[in-house]
């Protein structure tokens, strides 16, 4: 039997006898420990949720936390991710590189019980400087059993731009904020003051940092303690055998799913709205699938560009895995075993593989999402039942920072919002209307919380009629969020699909484009129940004479860049951010008439468009 045949025959579930003979443990122990690893990760996540001060951690789940195995050649273990929580998936796969490279840089043999090593250099297998990695060794009677590992998104990491996202302002990595090679945060359980001071003295969130660094340690300790409990109960060899079993379990599941995808080579092409000069960036992906193996290749994509228009190779690889996982019909427990069948080609010097010292802080979000979408678009061509219309294709950002001068004692504030958006229609049904992107799985913070905590007022958050891509199963509609800063603020915005509409699949139509509009000084008008001032385009297509919105097909239309930092808004300005509508799936004329009537009732589709796109007779 060839290696390939062995792999493909290994996708079926193991019998109890096979588990016993292969791993030396019985099936019950293997399954108890497989689930326990996942459970431990969830407990670690809850610790962060419960104790962190940063809303990105306590509210949004913008972090990943879980367990790594040890290095054990005989068991084919190499600091592999063995279980991850349900936080942001963008922080799952990347631990295969980020944590491993940190452990190797620090030296696995140097770790002592109670140590925590912290790092945030994106050029060491990471994502961007705001994603702070940490590992704590797990020892049992002096034997290294693995690590507890986390990646937490820090609300601010210093540097010239509040929140860290500085498209157009951060030319290179040196302008992004503090960048730490792996170093001790805790030494044998004792906090290392000098490391904490890097955060308290060089970021804009000293109090949050001081607390949350200790929360990270506490959550890692939960993981280490709980693993210790199971190792005490079952013994270290049974534990490690169960780790092997857990990884192989996920590998079998992914290979089984890959066998369902027709063999072939599939291509996808997309664009980022703009590079640093305002020109579109070409993005390409080729997926080669044969048997239970898959290769995802980003060759032919645009070169890296300064000012944040590139991302780390590790981000691209992570996103490629997520794109594949997202399109498989069965969910697979996320661990290194699930990643074994996948190869990724990320050409050095392309926007998907930045070379130092390119800035990647903003590009982390642009290209993380785009590479996931490209994989989905490519595999969509393989089989109609896997196809999906394009989603809003973005991790959008709108941030505000400044001094809250409304207070008796004015204090600085840093706020960032990640508006969610719609997903594309698929063979299974209509696209969701308001979801985080696959990489996020994050919870949007409540408007009431944000209005209480920040000098902001939310005037509106509504679905927008006639923005969903038409189809037998339509895409989700766009959402419009209208915000007014109550004090003068410096802002960053990053919004995608302002230049190109989202794409439908298998005859489905595209969704609407995104935009940001500014109604200057209109909060007072809104309070007086008057119409807002005429809008000026911040991001999207504008009339060159007065900045008003204009039809993109108008020859006079100019595109205003959709990612920029250092933008100033005045107290009382009203900013309307609208994400893209998502693409539809299948011929709209095949849509269930009752579903069209429901969309009209819900104001997702206007009566006129229902007739034009769906041929609906509304009586």
């Amino acid at each position: 039997m060839s290696v390939r045949q062995e792999k493909e025959s290994s996708t079926s579930a193991l019998s109890a006898q096979e588990v016993e003979s292969r791993y030396g443990i019985d099936l019950t122990v293997a399954e108890v420990l497989r689930h326990a690893l996942r459970y431990i990760s969830l407990q670690m996540q809850l610790k962060i949720n419960a104790a962190a001060l940063s809303p990105l951690l306590s509210e949004m789940n913008d972090f990943g936390i879980g367990l790594l195995g040890p290095r054990d050649e005989a068991r084919d273990l190499d600091f592999d991710a063995i279980a991850m929580s349900t936080g942001a998936p963008a922080h799952f796969v990347i631990n295969q590189y980020y944590a491993r490279m940190a452990i190797e840089h620090w030296g696995a043999e140097r770790f002592e019980p109670g140590d925590v090593v912290i790092y945030n250099d994106p050029y060491r297998g990471g994502s961007h400087v705001n994603d702070v990695g940490a590992v704590m060794p797990i020892f049992h009677e002096g034997r290294l059993m693995g690590f507890a590992a986390s990646i937490t998104h820090w609300l601010d990491i210093g540097g010239p731009v509040p929140t860290g996202f500085g498209p157009g302002l951060q030319r290179d990595v040196y302008a992004e904020g503090i960048r730490l090679s792996p170093r001790l945060l805790y030494k044998r359980g004792e906090l290392v003051r000098e490391t904490v001071e890097l955060f308290t003295e060089q970021t804009r969130i000293a109090d949050i940092s001081s607390n949350d660094l200790q929360v990270v340690k506490a959550a890692l300790q939960v993981g280490a303690d709980m693993v210790g409990h199971y190792v005490d109960r079952y013994g270290p060899d049974a534990y490690l055998s169960a780790v092997e079993y857990t990884l192989d379990y996920s590998e079998r599941a992914v290979r089984r799913a890959l066998l369902e995808i027709p063999d072939g080579t599939y291509h996808a092409e997309d664009h980022l709205d703009n590079d640093s000069e305002g020109d579109p960036m070409l993005l390409r992906c080729t997926v080669r699938k044969f048997g239970s193996e898959i290769e995802i290749d980003f060759s032919g994509s645009a070169r890296e560009d300064w000012n944040g228009y590139a991302c780390q190779w590790s981000d691209t690889v992570s996103a490629a895995h997520l794109g594949l996982q997202a399109i498989l019909l069965e969910s697979v427990p996320p661990n290194a075993g699930a990643y074994r069948p996948v190869h990724v080609v990320a050409p050095a010097g392309s926007c998907f593989h930045a070379l130092p010292p390119m800035s990647t802080n903003s590009g982390h979000l642009f290209f993380l999402v785009k590479s996931t979408t490209l994989v989905k678009m490519a595999i969509s061509q393989a089989d109609p039942k896997l196809a999906v219309g394009e989603n809003y294709d973005d991790i959008c950002i709108l941030s505000f920072a400044g001094i809250d001068t409304r207070l008796k004692h004015p204090i600085p504030f840093v706020y960032i919002r990640f508006p969610l958006g719609p997903f594309g229609g698929s063979a299974l049904g209509d696209g969701c209307c308001y979801m985080p992107i696959e990489e996020g799985n994050a919870v949007e913070t409540s408007i009431e919380f944000e209005e209480e905590a920040q000098p902001l007022l939310f005037l509106e958050r509504e679905f927008v009629t006639d923005t969903a891509g038409a189809g037998m199963h339509r895409g989700g509609p766009a959402t419009r969020v209208v915000i007014a800063p109550l004090v003068d603020s410096e802002s960053t915005y990053q919004l995608e699909q302002c230049r190109f509409p989202t794409k439908g699949a298998f005859g489905g139509g595209g969704g609407s484009m995104a935009s940001i509009l500014l109604h200057k000084g209109s909060l007072a008008r809104w309070s007086g129940l008057e119409e807002l001032a005429e809008p000026e385009v911040v991001a999207g297509f504008a009339d060159p004479d007065d900045g008003a919105p204009i039809d993109p097909d108008d020859a006079r239309a100019v595109f205003r860049i959709s990612k920029l930092a250092g933008v100033h808004f005045k107290a009382g300005d009203v900013i309307a951010l609208q994400v893209a509508g998502a693409g539809g799936y299948g011929d709209p004329r095949e849509r269930d008439p009752e579903a069209v009537r429901r969309d009209v009732r819900n104001e997702i589709v206007s009566p006129a468009e229902a007739e034009r796109l769906y041929g609906a007779d509304l009586g």
């Binding site: 590189y97 070409l282 044969f290 074994r340």
Partner: protein, 67 residues
Amino acid sequence: MLFPQPTDLTIDEPLEPVDAACPECGNEAVFKYRLVDYRGWLRVTKCRACLNVLDRVRIEPPAQGGA
């Protein structure tokens, strides 16, 4: 400028042709190139038709902090 941007507008992973047919499928689309597997970077000799890996060598990532 201290660090130049690539001059090519789009970037391809360089493929080095290998004068051999794939032992699995017989196809001659065998190349040597770099890719990332679940543990990091590899230089592989691989068939682009059936994805059979004829040879693999683990290599350092092309870009690293401090490098």
